[in-house]
Symmetry: C2
Subunit: 223 residues, 2 copies
């Protein structure tokens, strides 16, 4: 999408309307590059070049790398997090909650192809440059609701007591963003492992989580 | 362990016996630092310093960074992979196979504390410096056996048909190494999420995978 825009605007300030579009275009370019090669491996000049403008435009809109990362967290990650997580509050049942989460995560990664690898490198990894910025955004109410819903169901004896409610968040991520982030890696593997599709990942994630968190599964399972 | 060794040996070649110990000590130091700060963020001088020797010793034993990484893959990752994965071949039943895998992964990370974060940054992440080296090591026979065991059980109608056998490997990793690699991150989160222990992660992983891959769970689950 970004690469089709080749018009350059190298002199003076951009007009307001073009300015808004250009700012979004620069965020798109930054996210695409960050997903491909990491934040540390990407220069502001590369972002400008990918968006088809001069480096001065990046400085004009974002001043510096820190401000650019702040903008990405606030203007791009927060809306995605909110759209994925906020419907959780509408439900008090674990299985529909998990199904919905998985489906919305897949939808979000369809629109934002950079999301899984950005998550892996810049949020999950130690020293990731978006981790602290993300933790300042207020989405923990949703996670708390998920945890308390699982805890309540567990107290009613509906969910395997060996599952840990505080780990449900990471189980969801580990079965969605992790396989999506590493699916490119499969191509380097022996034939039997190749060719896993997004649809298979989505179906597998949903089936796995639904099986694990369905009612009355805990009782029959001894060690 | 490494930091307790402070003896320096800065002149001449090390004696053979001390040499073997020192080589292992350097591998230990390298793995600890790589786990803490990543391969790209670690200099050979830091490795030497952590092991309490001069940088010349690192060059003496490993020549350069590439040879050091080759040695790590062959002498440290391969034995761990083999000990975790080879018992898989002894079983043709999915649940004991998954239980055993989870338990051996936790045991391996107990002894090798650097393993989860090294996996996340250098194997799972795009551009990770151990990924290609790892894929050259022959452990895919074990993964193939796991896949064919799950496939066979699924054909017998014992496992939810919506699960994808080629994704079982990543489900195991996503519920073991991923939470272990990110457990430090929990401390930055609101109180309700803090304090998850290794034991809880292990129990959760085993319960989740066993529930999802147990017999006769597929039939009752429509979408």
């Amino acid at each position: 999408m970004c690469s089709t825009r080749t018009a350059r605007r190298s002199i003076g300030r951009p007009r307001p309307v073009a300015g808004i579009a250009l700012r979004e275009l620069l965020l798109d370019a930054a996210l695409t590059l960050f997903g491909e090669q990491g934040i540390a491996g990407t220069t502001l000049a590369e972002i400008a070049s990918r968006a088809g403008v001069t480096p001065a435009m990046v400085h004009y809109y974002f001043k510096n790398r820190n401000r650019l990362l702040d903008a990405i967290a606030r203007e791009r990650l927060l809306p995605i997090l909110t759209s994925v997580w906020s419907p959780v509050l509408e439900s008090t049942e674990v299985v529909p909650m998990l199904r919905g989460l998985v489906q919305r995560i897949f939808k979000a990664t369809e629109v934002n192809a950079w999301l899984p690898s950005l998550w892996l490198r810049e949020i999950a990894s130690e020293g990731g440059q978006l981790r602290t910025r993300l933790f300042k955004l207020a989405f923990f109410d949703y996670v708390r609701h998920l945890i308390s819903t699982v805890t309540a169901a567990q107290r009613r004896g509906e969910i395997n007591p060996e599952l840990e409610p505080r780990l449900v968040l990471i189980s969801v991520i580990g079965n969605t963003l992790l396989p999506l982030a590493t699916v490119g890696m499969w191509q380097q593997l022996p034939a039997v492992l190749q060719g896993v599709t997004r649809e298979q990942i989505a179906r597998h994630a949903e089936a796995l989580l639904v099986s694990a968190f369905s009612k009355n599964l805990g009782s029959a399972r001894g060690r």
